[in-house]
């Protein structure tokens, strides 16, 4: 299992930070940073409801992410599955929102569950990659 935790203090009240994660017109403004854009975003904010976000690169190629809402506690918690279109892998994202005065502490946990065999494979495989990289460098 892989797990990534990130913390970010956001310069806005908790209701607004929460809204930025589940309101399409807000999501479209930050989900494609830099040269990317978000031409489409759909949100069906209820447990079992789906979301879908299309990110477009400047060369026109698109990356599409989607999933299902697992848990929704307004202004506190938002959990959803995470699956790239064209991929069978499903991972899970868990967001926690905590008010810090007029600011908000946001914690993001992203998890990938894999079988033990796949994990062993993963370790072996990346060692091969690293070895090849070392030669390359």
């Amino acid at each position: 299992m892989f797990e990534l935790t990130m913390n970010k203090r956001c310069n806005a009240p908790v209701a607004r930070v929460f809204a930025a994660w589940c309101t399409t017109d807000l999501m479209r403004r930050w989900f494609g940073p830099g040269e990317m854009t978000v031409p489409e975003a759909e949100v069906d904010l209820r447990v079992g409801g789906a979301y879908r976000v299309v990110m477009r690169r400047p060369d026109g190629q698109t990356l599409i992410i989607g999933g299902i809402y697992r848990e929704i506690v307004t202004n506190q918690r938002l959990c959803f599955s995470w699956q790239w279109e064209g991929s069978e892998a499903v991972t899970e994202v868990e967001l926690t929102f905590r008010a810090a005065g007029e600011q908000t502490d946001l914690t993001l946990v992203h998890r990938e569950f894999e079988t033990e065999a796949a994990r062993d494979d993963h370790n072996k495989g990346w060692q091969g990659c690293l070895a090849k990289l070392a030669v390359f460098a």
Binding site: E35, C129, F136
Partner: protein
């Protein structure tokens, strides 16, 4: 936005990362890390069709993770490790992905507190 644009490299990284978010494609990369292989060699260990494997290979090619050499009718794939240098594992791939989005999120939240409603 009055911020300098991020280099194209970052959006390329998103593609690398999307390519590697899939277990089958990571398996293909592992096989290519050992040695160059033909399309049919790559397909051999999988229970899916050659067409399905070809699709996965195309995603890796589009991301610049692998390159194809054509010798008559034989297509050989080779790993391009330089494309992976910034994103060797799942954790660093997603750390990069989320870092850039959380920064953009905070920018949006900080710069204009009352956003205009865009017609969706």
């Amino acid at each position: 936005m009055n911020k300098p644009q991020e280099p194209t490299q970052s959006t390329q990284l998103d593609h690398v990362f999307m390519a590697l978010a899939d277990a089958t494609r990571r398996q293909l990369v592992r096989m290519l890390a050992e040695q160059d292989r033909t399309v049919s060699e790559l397909a051999a260990p999988f229970s899916m069709s050659l067409a399905a494997i070809s699709k996965h290979i195309k995603v890796l090619e589009a991301a610049g993770v692998v390159a194809r050499r054509i010798d008559g009718r034989v297509h050989t794939l080779t790993l391009c490790p330089e494309a992976l240098s910034e994103s060797l594992d799942w954790i660093s791939i997603y750390r990069n992905f989320w870092q850039r989005r959380l920064t953009a999120l905070d920018d949006v939240l900080s710069t204009d507190r009352i956003p205009p409603l865009e017609g969706d």
